[in-house]
Symmetry: C2
Subunit: 305 residues, 2 copies
């Protein structure tokens, strides 16, 4: 099976691949938002992990970047490096990828599939946002509220179980994260800045603090823990919820004056939006109700140590 047969067989479902490149006509009055995320065998996943889950997650982590910008995802390109062209693997991977893509009306418009020594997955995503309305990481001011969507810690909790070979529960948010697309779009024009929590809340929040030269004070009583964490001791709960990452919730900053509209968005979308703290002077995170903050070295996921 050569590259062209693989494309014909598995990757032409909602796509218009054919020329050297895809052609799109931008929608006037909109900016384009572009990002990319890859997943590597032996680092982000193991060789024998379910290909359906890998396809879902590759699409989900890229969609989540669009959500974090308040953008409407529209197109993706895919590069796949594979040791062999295994029909079952390809079918299930494409199923996982396209089922999530179709849910958000995202089209695969190009790609490159090649043999490789290990599995290497890379997706690049393009979305639209009304001109000037994309949400970046700048705009956090003293006194602003810090919010998190949904709940935290489930992905890290399942990862810990997986590493200890405990029985898996499928689907879980480690393998099947759900990007917060509708929420992201609703918060464009409401939040001042936003980021998706992929590396752990403390690490991702720190990016915003560094860029805006401010600090943050969080209250450990207000962290929305995932159901799995509720019976754990506080220290352990906080560790999963604040440093675990991979939940793909949205962390955003907004002035107090937006509290009521944020409550309304939460009700309309049926997604909890919890105020977990405030922007303060300084440059670090302080956690009320906790004497020691996890060391930065143990926070989140560092790719190179």
């Amino acid at each position: 099976m050569d590259e062209f047969s693989i494309i014909d067989k598995y990757f032409k479902r909602n796509s218009f691949i054919g020329d050297d490149a895809a052609i799109i006509s931008p929608i006037s009055g909109n900016d384009l938002v572009i990002s990319t995320d890859c997943m590597q065998e032996g680092v982000h996943f193991l060789k024998d992990d379910e290909p359906h889950a890998l396809g879902h997650k590759l699409m989900a982590v890229n969609l989540s970047d669009m959500a974090a910008m308040g953008a409407n995802p529209k197109y993706v390109t895919l590069t796949l490096g594979l040791p062999t062209a295994d029909d079952d693997w390809l079918r299930e991977f494409a199923d996982g990828l396209f089922s999530l893509a179709n849910k958000y009306d995202v089209q695969l418009i190009g790609g490159d599939i090649s043999r490789a020594l290990h599995i290497s997955l890379s997706l690049q995503i393009i979305g639209y946002v009304a001109k000037g309305m994309a949400l970046g990481r700048r705009g956090a001011n003293l006194g602003d509220d810090i919010y998190i969507s949904g709940s935290l810690g489930e992905a890290a909790f399942f990862l810990a179980g997986k590493l200890k070979n405990e029985k898996k529960i499928t689907p879980n948010r480690l393998e099947y994260p759900e990007p917060r697309i509708a929420l992201g779009r609703s918060l464009a024009g409401i939040a001042n800045c936003m980021i998706d929590v992929s590396d752990g809340l403390l690490q991702d929040l720190q990016h915003i603090l560094d860029l805006n030269r401010v600090g943050a004070e969080l209250d450990s009583n207000f962290i929305p823990y995932s159901a799995e964490l509720k019976k754990l001791p506080l220290k352990s709960k906080l560790d999963y919820a604040l440093t675990g990452g991979e939940d793909y919730e949205l962390l955003f900053i907004a002035p107090n004056s937006r509290a009521r509209i944020i409550e309304k968005i939460s009700r309309d979308l049926d997604i909890p939006l919890t105020k977990i703290g405030s922007i303060v002077a300084g440059k670090n995170v302080i956690i009320r109700g906790m004497k020691k903050i996890p060391k930065i070295a143990s926070r989140g996921f560092k790719h190179f140590i």
Copy 2:
């Protein structure tokens, strides 16, 4: 060294990386042209290959896709999978990548760098073309002329030498291909269809023939051989030139009425544009002056056998 340090140190030269995604404002009256190409260790290159050449080639093969569409390349995103974060490797790779990017005023606007078991390189590229003017692979009509730019066979000749551990000559077109950007843009509106020769002339031409349900008759006397091939016997020359690939010349189809403007483009850009045959009825390639055509199985580069 973590991902963020690597980005700061090596990949912020002409880029504006920072948020979850980059924001661009499309130029009105233009279409966007998008494609992606990856290079995998052990398949497209070897672990010890010069990182500067890898950076150049990764950029070049993606730029070549823009050339083939008649587009003006503008933005790229990069995903890198690396076993270790080696400073020398990263500096040289980035040098190779950016020196070619800067030549064509292409900006790196996003990326994802991660640890991986083997080196995996993937670039995604976005360019502009005046609305409706992108050159695809459709539009070859009976009697049309078939042209090739520059000369063929050098990359394959050097690859054969490299595989036999013969003394390398650097730079050569295998490692330092030069994308035909100016030519591609000049041919938008002149050629009917175009493709870049990455997999070998016969295989790439066949894509156009299949899509347009036509055949082609080439004349072996008119093939523009690279200087290195000139002393070889005809069979060997033709094999390098027609099945070798990786020269990244542009293959294009145009009606006879465009012959004079194509001559003018060739003179203006100082790039040979050679008529090597015609579109005929049928579905395959016939080569005048050659009894046997290389079997399809031995043509070009098949990623999965």
